[in-house]
C-alpha cells in the first residue's frame, strides 16, 4: 500500500541534491540569535548564540530535550516572536514578522472543527486572500496525496488523529510555501502511526521539494528524516552539534536497524547522556 497515492515511482525518485550545505545556495541564515524569556520573574535564556544555515530544499531536523529552545527557534522563524539579539535572513531579506511563503505544522493538528477537511486545507488561501478557485485543484491533489479524498467534505471530528495530522500537513503546503516549519508534528501519535507518517512525510518532501525545519525529541525520527540533524542542549538553549546524515534516499524503515543508522543515533544520544535525561 502506497501512502502517497499520487506519487509514482518517477516522481518519488530523489532529485540530485547537494550533500554539502556550503556548496549550495543558502536560503536561511540564522546569525547569533538569542532569546530571553521572563517579564517579571527570573530571566531565562531560551536561546543563545544560534548560528545555522539552511539550504534551499534541505531537510533539517532539530533534536533536543524539553526546554532546549527548539520550539522557540521555530516560533522565531515563523515570525511569531521577535529575537532579543541576532538576525534571521530569508534569502537577502531580514525576517521581521510572519511571511507568506511559510507553512507551519503544529504538534496538534490545529484544525477548525466547523470547517470541512477541504475548507481546513484552504485556510492559508483564505487568510492570504488568494483566489480560492485557483487553489482548489491543488488542495484536492494534496488531500488525494495523503489518501483523504473520500474525506474532503468531512469534518475534523469525524477523522482519526493520524488523519487529522495529515490534513494539518497538507494545509501547510497548499499555498505553495518555500519552507515548512514542523513543531513535533507526530508527537501525539502512537508509535506505529508515527513511523508511517515519517515514511509519508519523506515522500511528500521528495515530491514537493520544500525546505523543511523539523522539530522533534525523537532521535531516530530525526536521523530517519533529515539531511542534517541539529542537536540542541538546554539551559541555555544552544546548538551542540550539527550532524550530516549520509544515508541514501529513499530511506526505508528497515534502514533504522542498520549499523550506520545506529551509529548516528548513538552519536546524538551521547550529547544528552552528559546533559541529563532525555524525555
Amino acid at each position: 500500500m502506497t501512502l502517497l497515492k499520487g506519487a509514482s515511482a518517477a516522481e518519488a525518485s530523489p532529485k540530485p541534491r547537494p550533500l554539502d550545505a556550503s556548496s549550495s545556495r543558502e536560503f536561511i541564515r540564522i546569525r547569533e540569535v538569542g532569546k530571553l524569556f521572563g517579564g517579571r520573574g527570573p530571566v531565562v535564556t531560551a536561546l543563545q548564540d544560534i548560528n545555522l544555515d539552511i539550504a534551499l530544499g534541505e531537510f533539517v531536523a532539530v533534536v533536543g530535550p524539553s526546554g532546549c529552545g527548539k520550539s522557540t527557534l521555530l516560533r522565531i522563524l515563523a515570525g511569531l516572536i521577535p529575537t532579543n539579539s541576532g538576525t534571521v535572513w530569508f534569502g537577502d531579506r531580514k525576517l521581521e514578522g510572519p511571511r507568506h511563503d511559510i507553512g507551519v505544522v503544529f504538534q496538534s493538528p490545529v484544525l477548525f472543527p466547523w470547517r470541512t477537511v477541504l475548507d481546513n486545507v484552504l485556510i492559508p488561501i483564505d487568510v492570504q486572500k488568494l483566489d480560492r478557485k485557483k487553489y482548489l485543484s491543488r488542495a484536492r491533489d494534496l488531500i488525494n496525496l495523503v489518501g483523504l479524498s473520500e474525506f474532503e467534505q468531512r469534518y475534523p471530528a469525524e477523522l482519526s488523529g493520524g488523519m487529522q495530522q495529515r490534513v494539518g500537513i497538507v494545509r501547510a503546503l497548499v499555498h505553495d510555501p518555500a519552507m515548512l516549519l514542523m513543531d513535533e508534528p507526530f508527537g501525539a501519535l502512537d508509535a506505529m502511526t508515527r513511523e508511517h507518517m515519517n515514511v509519508e512525510l519523506q515522500r511528500l518532501w521528495m515530491a514537493q521539494s520544500k525546505t523543511i525545519l523539523f522539530i522533534t525529541h525523537s532521535i531516530s525520527e530525526a536521523v530517519f528524516l533529515a539531511d542534517r540533524v541539529v542537536v540542541m542542549t538546554p539551559r541555555p538553549g544552544r546548538i551542540a552539534e550539527v550532524l550530516d546524515i549520509d544515508l541514501p534516499r529513499e530511506r526505508t524503515l528497515d534502514m533504522m536497524t542498520t549499523p550506520p543508522f545506529g551509529e548516528y543515533v548513538r552519536r546524538i544520544r551521547a550529547h544528552f547522556g552528559t546533559a541529563g535525561v532525555m524525555d
Partner: protein, 287 residues
C-alpha cells in the same frame, strides 16, 4: 443532563406514564387524604378545569401573548446589547479597563431588585417589563460573549498569524466561531432570565400579562387559577428553551459529529498493520 436515551424503551415509557398517573392521583386525593384545604392546594381536577376555562375563553391567550411579547422583546434587546458590549470589551483592552468595574458591580447585584423602580419610571405598560427583561438578559450574554471570544485556541491563533493574517481575520475566522458555543449557552440563560424578569415585574404592577393575571387571581383566592397559570408559564418556558436548543444544534453542528467508522474505506495506510487481525476476525463472525 446525563444521557438517558438508552433507558427510553417502550416498557419504561409505560412505567413513566403510570408514574404520572400516580402523581396526579395522589394530588387529586390530597385534599381528602391529608386534609389540605382547597385554597392552599387545589385538587388536580380543579386546576385542569381552571386551565380549560382560561384557554377556551381566550383569556390566557391574550395575557400569554402580552407576556410572550415582553419576554421576546426584552430578550432581543438585552441579548443584542450584551453581545455588542461583550465584543467591544473582548476586542478593546482600554474599553475593558474602564468598563469592568461597573460590570462587576452590577453583576453582584440582584437585577430584578430594580423592577419596582422600572415600574415607577416606565409605568404599568409593557415598557417596564421589557426593560427589566432586557437588563437580566444582558449580563449572561455579555459575560459569555467575553469568555467565548477570549477562549480561542492559542495554536489556532498562531496558525492564522503565521500565515500573515491580521487580528481582524483572527476575529472573523476564529474568535467568533470559537465563541459560538458560549454565546448559545448565554442565549439559553438569558431567555430563562427574561421570562423570570417579565413575570416578576408583572407581579409588581401591570395592566396585562400572565403575571398580573396570576396576582389578581391570588387576591381573589382563586388558587386553582393561579396553578393553571403556572402550568401555562412552564409551557411557555419549555417552548422557548426548546426553540433555542434546536437553533443551537443547527449552529453548533460540529459539536455533535462523531468519528466516522473508517473500517476498510478510509484509513487504509494506518489501518494496514492491523488489517490481518480484521481479516481473521471476519470468518469467525460469519460462522
Amino acid at each position: 443532563m446525563p444521557d438517558l436515551s438508552s433507558l427510553d424503551t417502550p416498557k419504561n415509557r409505560i412505567l413513566s406514564i403510570l408514574l404520572l398517573c400516580l402523581v396526579l392521583a395522589i394530588w387529586q386525593a390530597s385534599p381528602v387524604l391529608f386534609k389540605i384545604p382547597a385554597f392552599i392546594l387545589p385538587s388536580a381536577s380543579a386546576v385542569a378545569i381552571g386551565l380549560w376555562r382560561g384557554l377556551t375563553s381566550g383569556l390566557y391567550l391574550y395575557h400569554g401573548a402580552v407576556t410572550l411579547f415582553e419576554v421576546l422583546a426584552g430578550f432581543a434587546l438585552g441579548g443584542s446589547l450584551g453581545l455588542a458590549l461583550g465584543v467591544a470589551v473582548a476586542l478593546n483592552r482600554r474599553f475593558a479597563y474602564f468598563i469592568y468595574p461597573y460590570i462587576i458591580m452590577f453583576q453582584s447585584m440582584p437585577k430584578v431588585a430594580l423592577a419596582p423602580l422600572f415600574v415607577l419610571w416606565f409605568g404599568l405598560g409593557v415598557t417596564s417589563k421589557i426593560v427589566t427583561a432586557a437588563l437580566v438578559a444582558f449580563f449572561p450574554m455579555m459575560i459569555n460573549t467575553i469568555s467565548g471570544l477570549t477562549s480561542a485556541d492559542k495554536d489556532r491563533i498562531d496558525l492564522i498569524l503565521s500565515l500573515g493574517g491580521s487580528e481582524r481575520q483572527v476575529f472573523t475566522m476564529l474568535r467568533f466561531p470559537s465563541a459560538l458555543p458560549f454565546i448559545m449557552a448565554g442565549l439559553e440563560i438569558s431567555m430563562a432570565l427574561s421570562l423570570i424578569g417579565t413575570v416578576v415585574t408583572e407581579f409588581l404592577g401591570a395592566d396585562a400579562g400572565l403575571g398580573m393575571l396570576m396576582q389578581s387571581m391570588n387576591f381573589m383566592m382563586d388558587v386553582a387559577g393561579s396553578f393553571s397559570i403556572l402550568i401555562v408559564l412552564a409551557v411557555v418556558g419549555l417552548v422557548l428553551n426548546h426553540a433555542l436548543v434546536m437553533i443551537r444544534h443547527r449552529v453548533l453542528f460540529w459539536e455533535r459529529l462523531g468519528r466516522v467508522d473508517s473500517g476498510a474505506a478510509a484509513d487504509t495506510s494506518i489501518a494496514e498493520p492491523t488489517a490481518p487481525q480484521a481479516d481473521s476476525a471476519l470468518p469467525a463472525q460469519q460462522k
